[in-house]
């Protein structure tokens, strides 16, 4: 190598190296900072195992009707009785875990799998179900109907 080159080339190379290295370090800081910022921004669904879920808006359910909603990984049934009062239960039939439905024609909670019937308090009244449905609490907050675990 020529002496002149020995002076200038490493210098250029060193500058290049500094730039690339700086970019690498900056990239590292960025790729650490970005996830942190994203992490801190709250996720859309803000609770894992809900103690309560919004099941319906007030007035959404006419009297003598029912609605299946998701409560964590389980289905829940919100019913509105003919007198306008609300009731809620885990919608898993106590016989074989099928999802029960509200039957406006019979005014009972009905399991289509084996024709199990529960009254509007969730008590097993006919067919194979051995136990009443597990009850949920119904609460009203503003114009929202909330379901919550009992006790």
């Amino acid at each position: 190598m020529e002496p002149t080159n020995r002076e200038s080339e490493p210098l250029e190379r060193r500058n290049f190296l500094n730039v690339v290295l700086g970019a690498g370090v900056a990239g590292t800081i960025g790729s650490i900072g970005f996830p942190i910022v994203r992490y801190l921004l709250p996720p859309p669904e803000s609770d894992a195992a809900p103690d309560a879920v919004v099941a319906a808006k007030e007035g959404e359910l006419p009297p003598n009707s029912g609605k299946i909603v998701r409560f964590g990984v389980k289905p829940a049934l919100l019913i509105r009785r003919a007198d306008g009062s609300y009731g809620a239960f885990f919608a898993s039939c106590t016989h074989l875990d099928c999802t029960v439905q509200y039957r406006p024609d019979l005014k009972v909670i009905h399991c289509a799998c084996h024709n199990g019937m529960y009254d509007l308090q969730g008590r097993n009244v006919s067919g194979p179900p051995p136990r009443p449905l597990e009850r949920l609490q119904v609460k009203q907050r503003g114009n929202e109907i909330l379901l919550a675990r009992e006790g």
């Binding site: 490493p10 190379r13 060193r14 190296l17 500094n18 690339v20 290295l21 690498g24 370090v25 990239g27 590292t28 790729s31 998701r70 964590g72 990984v73 389980k74 289905p75 898993s92 074989l96 875990d97 099928c98 999802t99 289509a112 799998c113 084996h114 024709n115 097993n124 006919s126 067919g127 194979p128 051995p130």
Partner: protein, 445 residues
């Protein structure tokens, strides 16, 4: 209306008996919890070897609890101190029934009297004797003169009679089967009646017996299928209604389905032909197979059109079941890795519904309708499986992302190493040019 002589004589006995004793309780109200100590109780307690145990038993009974004492069934004068006076015929003393056929009418003096019973329990039935007379037991005792067939006291006890709702009662849901078995598992007794004695053991091992043993008092025991006072085995044609009292949907499907007519023609009883009667086991999918435990082979030839249909149905159920299992595994794995699969897990209950429904629709023996129910479930399951796989893919993607970041990190490490080397080289060059100014590399003594 029967005009059979025996019946008339029974009715006669009943009406006669209805006019008899039970004076005390009529005045002492039903609410009286503590029975007044009568001379019967006082004396028979003192002379324990004479009816002492019976008095003790009576004291625990529902009759004692509502204020009914000895004389309410046996008559006599409970105020008389003298035994002869107390047991005088004109004091209404009747004693105990001597023959089996007398027991029913004896109890029925009160238990068939609505006016009387209403005071203790307004909703209590008063047709027990009427029912009993139609039962196999009642017919044996009252028409055939059997001295073995059961009457009231054989099931309810004599003096220690408890309410049916009392868990200690011999006829409460938890104990009635044992009570029936006292006779029905006794070979000596059953010999004359030519009845099997293994029914109780079979039932105990059945899905029904197991459920009851597990504490589910709504599970069927003897009287739920055979009736209690009117106990009689259901006939071939009627058994579907008996089972259908609980298994409503299965009855519906069977009655509307393709097998009802051939069963009737062949004189085969619905339900029990496939499921048996007393030792009914939890119905497994394998009942559809052509080989045992499959039951279709009892009537169908291998590979006839029905056997093939059954095979297809079984295949469908197995497919959905194993598909569910696999999907649950996928979701479980995704969950272990912390992926959120609560939504697909929630939807899985739809598939479970479909599977249960398919198992019910089988009773229609109609391949098309069965396939429709199953297809719905399979469609949902495919969607869920996709969600589960997507969750696992997402997890894989994260891992790959980390592996990729590894490349960047290694690149920076290489750059740093180059930088260190270039620093060293620069310093060496500087030292070479000006050895006296080697300030950066110091030496320690």
């Amino acid at each position: 209306m029967r005009t059979n002589g025996t019946t008339i004589s029974i009715l006669f006995t009943v009406s006669l008996a209805a006019a008899a004793p039970r004076s005390n309780a009529q005045d002492g109200q039903a609410t009286a919890q503590k029975t007044p100590e009568t001379s019967c109780v006082r004396c028979h307690k003192e002379i324990a070897e004479d009816l002492g145990p019976q008095v003790a038993e009576w004291e625990t009974s529902v009759h004692a609890a509502v204020g009914l004492s000895c004389n309410d069934c046996h008559g006599g004068d409970p105020t008389a101190d003298d035994m002869l006076k107390a047991k005088r015929k004109d004091a209404g003393y009747v004693g105990a029934p001597k023959k089996r056929a007398e027991v029913g009418p004896f109890c029925a003096r009160c238990h068939s009297d609505i006016e009387y019973m209403r005071r203790f329990n307004p909703s209590m039935r008063v047709d027990q004797l009427t029912e009993y007379l139609t039962s196999r037991h009642g017919k044996a005792v009252h028409q055939e003169g059997s001295d073995k067939a059961a009457t009231c006291t054989d099931c309810h006890g004599k003096h220690a009679i408890l309410r049916v709702s009392d868990p200690r009662s011999s006829v409460s849901a938890a104990h009635v089967a044992e009570t029936c078995a006292r006779c029905h598992a006794d070979a000596a007794r059953m010999a004359t009646a030519k009845l099997p004695t293994d029914i109780y053991e079979k039932w105990k091992g059945s899905v029904h017996g197991q459920r009851l043993a597990g504490g589910d008092l709504s599970a069927p025991t003897c009287n739920d299928c055979h009736g209690n006072h009117g106990a009689m085995p259901p006939g071939v044609r009627d058994v579907v209604h008996v089972c259908g009292r609980c298994h409503v949907t299965q009855e519906e499907h069977f009655t509307a389905g393709s097998h009802r007519a051939p069963f009737e023609k062949l004189g085969k009883a619905p339900c029990i032909t496939c499921h048996s009667n007393h030792d009914i086991q939890h119905a497994s999918d394998a009942l559809l197979a052509s080989q045992p435990p499959g039951v279709c082979g009892k009537c169908h030839k291998p590979d006839d059109v029905c056997d093939r249909a059954a095979k297809n149905m079984l295949g469908g159920i197995v497919r959905l079941t194993s598909g569910m299992k696999e999907t649950e595994d996928v979701l479980g794995r995704a969950e272990q890795f912390g992926m959120d699969v609560s939504e697909p897990r929630f939807r899985l209950s739809d598939v479970r519904d479909r599977l249960t429904m398919a198992r019910v629709v089988v009773h229609r023996f109609n391949e098309k309708e069965f396939a429709d129910v199953l297809a719905e479930g399979e469609k949902t399951l495919t969607g869920i499986r996709k969600q589960g796989d997507a969750a696992l893919d997402e997890w894989e993607f994260r891992r790959k992302g980390l592996a990729f970041s590894l490349i960047l990190i290694v690149a920076v490490i290489v750059l740093l190493a180059l930088k260190v080397r270039s620093l060293e080289r620069a310093r060496r060059n500087a030292q070479a040019r000006a050895p006296e100014g080697a300030a950066s590399v110091r030496t320690a003594s």
